[in-house]
Amino acid sequence: EAEPAVGGSSGGACRARRLYVSFREVGWHRWVIAPRGFLANYCQGKCALPAAMSEPGGAPALNHAVLRALMHAAAPGAAGLPCCVPARLSPISVLFFDNSDNVVLRHYEDMVVDECGCR
């Protein structure tokens, strides 16, 4: 279940968008005990100036991303814009049955996008 992108294909400035993964929707609810799903989110949006100048939470943008955005503004054909990608991720834990009838608690790093940035 994804938040529809607004404003054309890129959907405004680069930011995290809502994406809920339901284990029932992917047909895994019979062996995944908990959770029923989780907010994975995803990154989308333009990394043109001035968006490429600031990172979420006020952290300084990457110099390389700013340079690329400047390049693109000066000579659009030279190099593409920086990409809108995950800048901070969180783990989740999943409780499930495996094929040996074990009950398994597994920790997965980097499953939830908390923040996006231009890279």
Binding site: E1, A16, E25, D98
Partner: protein, 222 residues
């Protein structure tokens, strides 16, 4: 918009990424979820929820690949049922004289060779006809045609609560890789003359760390 995942390479890749060679079949209906696994899940889930976005960064208070509820490193906890239970003959509720021995079998074939065990805790529940003054002694030996040396002896003061015994370092060398299956012979003897107890449940709580999936704590950006 809802998008059911089409079966095929995408789902297989996601399962592979989740460390599942193939999607487990439906849940085994007879298998209730052990309370210890719910406790560990809720504890971890609560921490991850608290460490989520716009709060303290995950690295601040949630150690990746560490099982807080058990205090050991690891990113996979398995509650493995005893396969030997089905083959055990029914026991009299209380018997005097030579107490029985039990063979327990744990299928560990789901553990991948790259995983390093950090805890292998035997969890036993006994039913006893009566309490005994001096308590009991649990002994654990490798099961096989000829009885193996006792690997672990442990005093058991009471049978009212689950009996837990750490096998790692005793019945299982710490740096050894995980065997495909673990077969043990258990005995529980009263220290003072008393009726024998009956083994009502055996399971193994196995914690492993998969170094391929546990990158060191990400340093907060300067």
């Amino acid at each position: 918009t809802y998008a059911p995942v089409p079966p095929g390479p995408a789902a297989a890749a996601l399962l592979q990424a989740l460390g599942l060679p193939d999607a487990p079949r439906d849940a085994p209906t007879s298998r209730p979820v052990p309370p210890v696994m719910w406790r560990l899940f809720r504890r971890r889930d609560h921490q991850e929820a608290r460490a989520g976005p716009r709060r303290t960064p995950p690295g601040a208070n949630l150690r990746p690949c560490h099982v807080e509820g058990l205090g050991v490193p690891g990113n996979i906890v398995r509650h493995v049922p005893d396969r030997g239970a089905a083959a055990r003959p029914p026991e009299p509720s209380s018997a005097a004289g030579q107490c029985p021995e039990w063979t327990v079998v744990f299928d560990l074939s789901a553990v991948e060779p790259a995983e390093r065990p950090s805890q292998a805790r035997l969890e036993l529940r006994f039913a006893a006809a009566e309490a005994t003054a001096g308590g009991w002694e649990l002994s654990v030996a490798p099961a096989g045609a000829s009885p193996g040396p006792v690997l672990l002896r442990q005093a058991v003061p009471t049978l009212g609560t689950p009996v837990r015994a750490e096998l790692l370092g005793a019945a299982w060398a710490r740096n050894a890789s995980t065997p495909r299956s673990l077969r043990l012979t258990l005995a529980l003897r009263p220290r003072a003359p008393a009726y024998c107890a009956r083994l009502s449940e055996a399971s193994l709580l196995l914690v492993t760390l998969d170094p391929r999936l546990c990158h060191p704590l990400t340093r907060p950006r300067r």
